[in-house]
C-alpha cells in the first residue's frame, strides 16, 4: 500500500518549507494519524519511510518518542485528561474518575465497545482554566464532574 494521493500532494508542498525534506516528518505523522484511522500503523510507518527515504524503524523511533502519536489502534473518540499540578490542585482526579465511569474505559485503555480511549496527559497549557480535558482535539476547560457527564453524554 502507499499513502493516499491527497496526502502525498500535501506532503510535496510541505517539504518545500524546509531545507531538508525530513523536517516535515512530524507534521506528516500528525496528518497520517488524523486521516488514517487515528493511529500510526506499521504500514503507515513503512509508507512514510518510503516517502521520506528513511527506514521504517527510523520512523518508528521518531513516532514512539512523541506522546501524541498512537502506535496502537484507539477508540472512535479519544479523551486526554491533564493530570499535572494546576489541574490536580483543582480536582483532576475526580475528572479522570468521571470520564472512566461515563465511558467505561480504563485510564490508559479503550472501552470494550471501541468507542472511547481515555488517557492522561501532562500540562496542556490550560492551567488557568483547570481542570481540563481534550476531546478529539478540542479543549474543554473549567470542568466539574457534572460538566464532564454532560459533555460526554452529548457525544455519539
Amino acid at each position: 500500500m502507499a499513502l493516499p494521493k491527497q496526502l502525498v500532494d500535501e506532503f510535496d508542498e510541505l517539504v518545500k518549507n524546509y531545507p531538508e525534506r525530513r523536517a516535515a516528518l512530524i507534521v506528516a505523522l500528525h496528518r497520517c494519524q488524523e486521516e488514517l484511522g487515528g493511529w500510526i500503523s506499521p504500514q503507515t510507518m513503512e509508507d512514510l519511510g518510503a516517502y521520506f527515504g528513511l527506514e521504517p524503524v527510523e520512523v518508528f523511533g521518531v513516532a514512539s518518542f512523541y506522546p501524541m502519536f498512537h502506535l496502537r489502534p484507539v477508540g472512535k473518540h479519544v479523551v486526554s485528561i491533564c493530570h499535572n499540578i494546576s489541574c490536580d490542585l483543582r480536582g483532576a482526579q475526580d475528572i479522570i474518575a468521571k470520564v472512566c465511569e461515563v465511558t467505561g474505559a480504563p485510564l490508559g485503555g479503550t472501552s470494550k465497545d471501541g468507542q472511547w480511549t481515555v488517557k492522561h496527559v501532562e500540562c496542556q497549557g490550560a492551567c488557568a482554566n483547570a481542570p481540563m480535558l481534550d476531546l478529539d482535539g478540542t479543549y474543554h476547560e473549567d470542568l466539574t464532574p457534572e460538566k464532564v457527564a454532560q459533555l460526554l453524554g452529548a457525544v455519539r
Binding site: L89, V121, A126, A130, Y139
Partner: protein
C-alpha cells in the same frame, strides 16, 4: 489597586483582532513599517532592544538584544540564518503564549518579522506544541493574510527584506521546549537536546546560525521599536524592564493570565487580580514561575516580582506562572505529581537525569501513599544534588532537582510526618478508577 499602563494584552481584548483588518485598525504592523520604511538597520534594531532591557520570557530571562547580537556577522558568514519561535509552552502552570497566539496572532507574526530582520533571518519557524490546535490555526491564518498583504515573503512592504514564516507542530514532548531539543524536533527527529557548545547562534537548525526566542519575547519587539527603548526601560525595576504576562493558577478565586509591570508584589497579583486564595483559606506555598523553580512559602507573598528579588529569595521568575496552594494542600502529593512529570519527560540521554527523575518519582510516590522509608528525605536530597547544577546535557535535570530541594528544605517536617505515620494526613480522598499500563 494601583493603576498601571498596559499594552501586551490590549489588542487581545478586542473582538476580531485575530484578523488583519482589525489588527491594522488598532495600529498593527506600524512598527514593522517603521523598521523597513524608516531605514532602521538591523544593528539599530538589536541596539534598541538591548537598551530596552527586554529579557527572554521562555524561562531563563536572558537579555534578548544580547542574544540577537551573538549571531555571526552576515558579511563573514554566508550560511542562511533562522529564527525559531518557541511556542511549545509546556512548563506546568504556564498558559500565557496561548493567549497571545489565539487572540493576537498578528502581533506574534509582526514581532517575529522584526526579530528576523534584526538577525537577518531568511525564515522563521514557529514551533507550536501539537495540542494547541486553535492557537496553531489562528497563527497559520494570520501568516496567510500577512503574505497576501505583502507583509510576509519576498520584498516585505516593498523593501529589500525577504522572509518566510512557517508553522511547525510538535507532538506532546516537554523536552522539545528546550531550545536544542526543539531544533532536533524541527529537523524531524526525536527531541534529544544537543550538547552545547556549539550554541545555536553558531550552529543551530541545519548547522546554520539560529536564534530561539519565546513567543512573548518577540511579541514585545514591536512595542519597543515603536515607542522606543527609553519608554520600555522606564517601566519595571533595575534589571527587569517592561510589562510581563503572569499566569496564576491553582487554589485562587480567579485564575487567569494577567499583564503587570515588573516590580508589583506577588500579593497584588494574588489579591487584586486573582481575588485571593479560594474558600477563604490561607496560602501555604507557591511556585512563582512554573514547576521548575523553587517553591516559596505563603509568608513570602510580599516579594516583589522580578528577576533579582526572586533570586534573592532562592527561587526564580521562570515563566512567571504562579501556582498557588492553600493550607490544606499535601506537599507530598504536589511533589509526587511534579516528580512524575519530570520522570515522564526526561529524554534519557544522561544517566543522572534518567535515573534521578525515576528515583525522585518513586520516593515521592511512596511518601504520599504511606510507604515512605526512614532515610527517604536524605535520599531525596542527595539524589537531587547529584542531578544539578549543570551536570547534564540540558536543564531538565536541574528543573527536577530544584523543586525537590526546596520541598525538602521548606516542608521537611510535613514529609517526615508522612513517613513516620505511614500515611499522608493531608491526602485528598482518592477516587476509584481502573488503570492499564504505568501510573
Amino acid at each position: 489597586m494601583k493603576a498601571y499602563e498596559t499594552y501586551l494584552l490590549d489588542r487581545a481584548k478586542v473582538e476580531g483582532n485575530h484578523q488583519l483588518a482589525t489588527y491594522r485598525r488598532l495600529g498593527g504592523y506600524k512598527a514593522l513599517e517603521k523598521v523597513l520604511k524608516g531605514g532602521l538597520t538591523p544593528a539599530q534594531v538589536v541596539d534598541e532592544v538591548k537598551r530596552s532591557g527586554l529579557r527572554g520570557r521562555g524561562g531563563a530571562g536572558f537579555s534578548t538584544g544580547m542574544k540577537w547580537s551573538f549571531m555571526p556577522d552576515v558579511a563573514k558568514d554566508p550560511r542562511p540564518r533562522y529564527l525559531a519561535i518557541n511556542a511549545d509552552e509546556s512548563e506546568p502552570g504556564t498558559c500565557k503564549d496561548r493567549v497571545l497566539m489565539e487572540r493576537d496572532p498578528h502581533g506574534l507574526v509582526e514581532g517575529s518579522l522584526i526579530a528576523a530582520y534584526a538577525i537577518q533571518a531568511k525564515a522563521v519557524y514557529i514551533y507550536v506544541r501539537g495540542e494547541y490546535r486553535l492557537p496553531h490555526d489562528r497563527v497559520a491564518a494570520a501568516i496567510q493574510e500577512a503574505r497576501a498583504a505583502q507583509l510576509v515573503g519576498q520584498h516585505i512592504l516593498g523593501s529589500d527584506f525577504s522572509c518566510e514564516v512557517f508553522m511547525h507542530k510538535g507532538a506532546g514532548a516537554y523536552i522539545c521546549g528546550e531550545e536544542t531539543g526543539l531544533m532536533e524536533s524541527l529537523e524531524g527527529k526525536r527531541g534529544h537536546p544537543r550538547q552545547k557548545p556549539p550554541f545555536p547562534a553558531q550552529s543551530g537548525l541545519w548547522n546554520s546560525p539560529t536564534t530561539v526566542n519565546n513567543v512573548e519575547t518577540v511579541f514585545n519587539a514591536p512595542f519597543i521599536v515603536e515607542r522606543g527603548a527609553a519608554w520600555h526601560a522606564a517601566i519595571g525595576t533595575a534589571n527587569s524592564k517592561g510589562n510581563f504576562l503572569c499566569g496564576i493558577s491553582g487554589h485562587v478565586n480567579r485564575p487567569g493570565v494577567y499583564e503587570l509591570p515588573f516590580g508589583v508584589t506577588a500579593r497584588e497579583i494574588l489579591e487584586d487580580k486573582a481575588g485571593g486564595v479560594w474558600k477563604g483559606r490561607q496560602l501555604k506555598a507557591w511556585f512563582p514561575g512554573g514547576s521548575s523553580c523553587a517553591l516559596l512559602k505563603g509568608a513570602d507573598i510580599d516579594v516583589v516580582l522580578d528577576h533579582d528579588s526572586l533570586r534573592a529569595r532562592g527561587s526564580s521568575l521562570g515563566t512567571a506562572a504562579m501556582i498557588m496552594m492553600d493550607d490544606q494542600t499535601s506537599m507530598a502529593r504536589v511533589m509526587e505529581v511534579i516528580a512524575r512529570f519530570y520522570e515522564h519527560e526526561s529524554c534519557g540521554q544522561c544517566s543522572q537525569c534518567r535515573e534521578g527523575t525515576q528515583w525522585l518519582s518513586q520516593i515521592f510516590h511512596r511518601i504520599a501513599h504511606g510507604r515512605g522509608q526512614a532515610d527517604d528525605i536524605d535520599t531525596l536530597e542527595s539524589l537531587a544534588k547529584g542531578m544539578a547544577p549543570g551536570k547534564t546535557i540540558c536543564a531538565l535535570s536541574d528543573a527536577a532537582a530544584i523543586p525537590t530541594l526546596s520541598a525538602v528544605r521548606l516542608f521537611k517536617d510535613e514529609l517526615i510526618a508522612c513517613i513516620r505515620e505511614q500515611r499522608d494526613p493531608l491526602a485528598a480522598p482518592a477516587p476509584k478508577y481502573a488503570t492499564v499500563g504505568a501510573h
